[in-house]
């Protein structure tokens, strides 16, 4: 797919937002704040003085907590910043935090937030097992809900294909594997090699399978099927293995050029530490789509240099560069001041979610002249683009993947940085999101094996042997 059509498709999506009378943004560098609705009413009704109530739901324990804790911190920081500046149209935000756990339990806590706590809006969820469980409940209870992650393609492709009340901030899951593979091809000059031997290790659940499928098809399409040889594949259970040594030995024995991986959290920590002792990193390049995405200070403290550092196709706090993009600088500084650590992908996502709500409410108020109903807020959100710390983020208004947010992905090389005391992402490569995700209005069917539209879209529309970015 050429760059031109990508941009046109993106703009086409934005027209929907215009019609809905929303704030309209354009991917790239410009932002138009025009409103294609009747002029704002002269007389405005008074805004209620009661506080707004936000519900936050995050992993606070277990292997997912290194994602859940920063997510909660990002949301709380945004709420505190807004309250300090007088709230939303003068209304302060209060918040309640509930734990994210298994899907069943998570849904129960979600219902408690909506029915007992009577929240006005919701920010939460990390796991791709939980968004498909909570999504239909959000629609049933008609509660405006921002899912921070839980980015499985299935949510808006099959579970809730025409959502009204739920939105999702983090880039769609297929983009994760695709951007890591493209980043690896570019940064490791794989186009120049005659043959690339690939080993895979991924956690054995929806996310790991998704990352595996999309990394693999990207390598096959871009490098050409004949040049890619899969030499080993393993799927250890998520957070079920602490001794990875048998895997490490088999991976080394299969002599790959690259090891593609979506291990995350404690799994990636255990894996790379043990792999260091076996000399794995001297024998191949590690291509991770996610290792640097959450709590890098803990997760990749002494990660080896020169391997592909993936951030879940979302955000690393050093980019966009602070001097060129003050929104990110301010976010990083405020986050560090409040929490004593640097923000990461889940923190940025939750932070943006709260600001999306604020922006939509304020814009709707401008148009309506009164505190908006939930449907008015949704109309504003659909097709909206705002500038978050990671750059512009756009909410899709039409199928497929209606209510999914899109922002450019980023991949780089790992390098230990003594200023921070942990491994950071360097040599950033920006992967334009419009080139790697299914465009609005695309009418294909999900690939039967991988289960996603993105997989079919790549298979059907990408040219073999051509880098799409």
């Amino acid at each position: 797919m050429s760059g031109k059509t990508g941009r046109r498709d993106f703009l086409k999506g934005l027209v929907g937002g215009l019609v809905a009378g929303a704030v309209v943004g354009v991917a790239g560098t410009e932002l138009y704040r025009g409103i294609a609705a009747p002029p704002p009413p002269a007389v405005k009704e008074p805004v209620p003085t009661t506080p707004i109530k936000a519900g936050i739901q995050a992993y606070l324990t277990g292997g997912g907590a290194i994602w859940g804790k920063p997510m909660m911190q990002g949301a709380v920081l945004a709420i505190e910043e807004i309250n300090e500046r007088g709230g939303i149209l003068g209304r302060k935000i209060e918040y309640v935090v509930k734990p994210e756990t298994s899907p069943e339990e998570t849904v129960r806590e979600y219902r408690t937030l909506v029915l007992d706590e009577k929240i006005d809006f919701y920010v939460g969820l990390i796991s791709s097992s939980n968004t498909p469980a909570v999504g239909p409940v959000a629609e049933e209870l008609q509660k405006l809900s921002f899912f921070v992650d839980g980015c499985t393609d299935f949510l808006f492709e099959s579970v809730v294909p025409d959502p009204r009340f739920c939105f999702r901030i983090t880039n769609i899951q297929s983009a994760d594997g695709i951007s890591a593979a493209l980043g690896a091809i570019k940064l490791l000059n794989l186009m120049e090699k005659d043959k690339v031997r690939i080993a895979h290790i991924h956690p054995d659940y929806a996310y790991g399978r998704n990352a595996h499928a999309h990394m693999q098809i990207t390598f096959e399409k871009v490098l050409g099927k004949d040049r890619v040889e899969v030499v080993y594949e393993a799927f250890p259970g998520l957070f079920k293995v602490t001794d990875f040594t048998p895997y490490i030995t088999e991976i080394i024995a299969s002599k790959p050029d690259i090891l593609a991986s979506s291990l995350w959290g404690a799994d990636v920590v255990n894996f790379y530490k043990q792999a260091l002792g076996y000399g794995l990193f001297d024998k191949m390049k590690f291509v991770s789509c996610i290792a640097h995405a959450a709590s890098p200070a803990e997760a990749v403290k002494d990660f080896p240099d020169g391997h592909i550092a993936g951030v879940h196709a979302n955000y690393f706090f050093l980019y966009p560069e602070w001097d060129k993009y003050p929104i990110n600088k301010a976010f990083v500084e405020n986050y560090y001041k409040r929490w004593g650590t640097y923000p990461d992908s889940p923190a940025e996502g939750a932070y943006v979610a709260v600001y999306m709500y604020k922006t939509a409410v304020e814009k709707a108020y401008e148009v309506l002249g009164k505190w908006p109903e939930v449907d008015d807020i949704i109309k504003m959100l659909e097709g909206m683009t705002i500038y978050g710390p990671a750059g512009p983020i756009h909410i899709r208004a039409r199928k497929p993947n209606k209510h999914q947010c899109y922002k450019d992905g980023i991949v780089g090389l790992s390098k230990y940085d003594p200023r921070y005391g942990f491994s950071v992402l360097t040599n950033p490569v920006v992967i334009p999101i419009s080139r790697i995700t299914v465009p609005e209005g695309w009418e294909g069917t999900p690939d039967p094996k991988a289960g996603t539209l993105a997989y079919s879209w790549i298979r059907e529309t990408w040219k073999e042997g051509v880098l799409p970015v």
């Binding site: 594949e233 602490t242 530490k273 000399g279 709590s295």
Partner: protein, 299 residues
């Protein structure tokens, strides 16, 4: 076409896996053998050992003695063992309360304790995975053909071997060992013969705690510890115990060895089947040889 280096590394991995699993399973079997309590809390003691090393032990050693290898190898696991022995002492009255009660009471109490321990870990050490890999890194790696193997893992294997030997001496050559074995065979008769059974029970619980703490302490530098680890280890420990035979010293070793061999073989040939195969073997053994492969021997 398998290179010699590969074979050596795989065998080495099997010994390492066996050592770690044995250190978890042996305490579980000790307590079951003597008290007939299926102690679901046991893996939390192993995890506590890991947390103690990562969150306390290594810090103490480095601040007192600097970052040098020998003290880092020896002292943190002993601190971990000590802390876990203290924790075992605190929960010991519950074990006395449970012994002789129904299975459901034991399961509820021991599993409840495991969850409580997990929450205590969260309160003290937070939600991030913790590690303290100084010893693992300083010990370096050995070159075997084209392969590297971490020296630290050899230390774990040797420590486990020494522990097996000491444990055998304790159980078979000392008076308290004889009493422990006697209690596991017939606790009423042992009491009737005038032995202080309560003391035997106390020693058993503390010994199991000591082994779990030491095991966790030895293991941690090669991995990391995180919340929820107790629950994952629980499942694995039970597979080991089912395969080897519940309540048997020899069974702990046999079970650990078989699980490690199965892991290595499945990951080599059909990695997708790793856990499935281990469970299938466990099910087959439960069906056809429920006393386990340890020969059904008590010790």
């Amino acid at each position: 076409m398998i290179e010699l280096g590969e074979v050596v590394v795989r065998i080495y991995n099997i010994f390492f896996g066996t050592s770690v699993l044995f250190l978890i399973a042996v305490g579980l079997n000790l307590i079951y053998g003597v008290m007939r309590i299926v102690n679901l809390t046991h893996p939390a003691f192993f995890t506590l050992g890991c947390y103690t090393v990562a969150g306390l032990g290594v810090g103490i050693v480095i601040s007192l003695l600097g970052t040098s290898l020998t003290p880092l190898l020896i002292i943190p696991p002993l601190i971990a063992a000590l802390i876990v022995v203290i924790a075992s002492l605190i929960v010991f009255p519950l074990f006395i309360y449970m012994s002789g009660k129904g299975d459901e009471v034991q399961l509820l109490v021991t599993y409840g304790l495991l969850l409580i321990f997990e929450d205590v870990f969260r309160l003290i050490w937070g939600v991030e995975p913790l590690r303290a890999s100084q010893a693992y890194e300083m010990a370096g790696s050995l070159i075997v053909g084209e392969y590297l193997i971490p020296v630290y893992n050899i230390y774990v294997i040797l420590s486990a071997l020494i522990l097996v030997l000491l444990l055998w001496l304790l159980l078979f050559k000392t008076k308290i060992g004889i009493l422990i074995r006697a209690s596991s065979m017939d606790i009423e008769m042992t009491a009737a013969l005038g032995a202080d059974v309560k003391k035997v029970l106390l020693v058993t619980v503390l010994l199991a705690g000591f082994l779990a703490g030491l095991g966790g302490g030895l293991y941690l530098p090669s991995a990391s510890v995180m919340l929820g680890m107790s629950v994952e280890l629980l499942v694995l420990a039970f597979v080991v115990v089912v395969i080897g035979g519940l309540g048997s010293f020899l069974g702990s070793f046999v079970g650990s060895f078989i699980v490690s061999v199965l892991r290595t073989i499945t990951l080599m040939l059909f990695p997708e089947l790793e856990l499935a195969l281990i469970y299938i073997v466990a099910i087959l053994i439960l069906t056809f040889k429920p006393e386990g492969l340890g020969g059904g021997r008590k010790w």
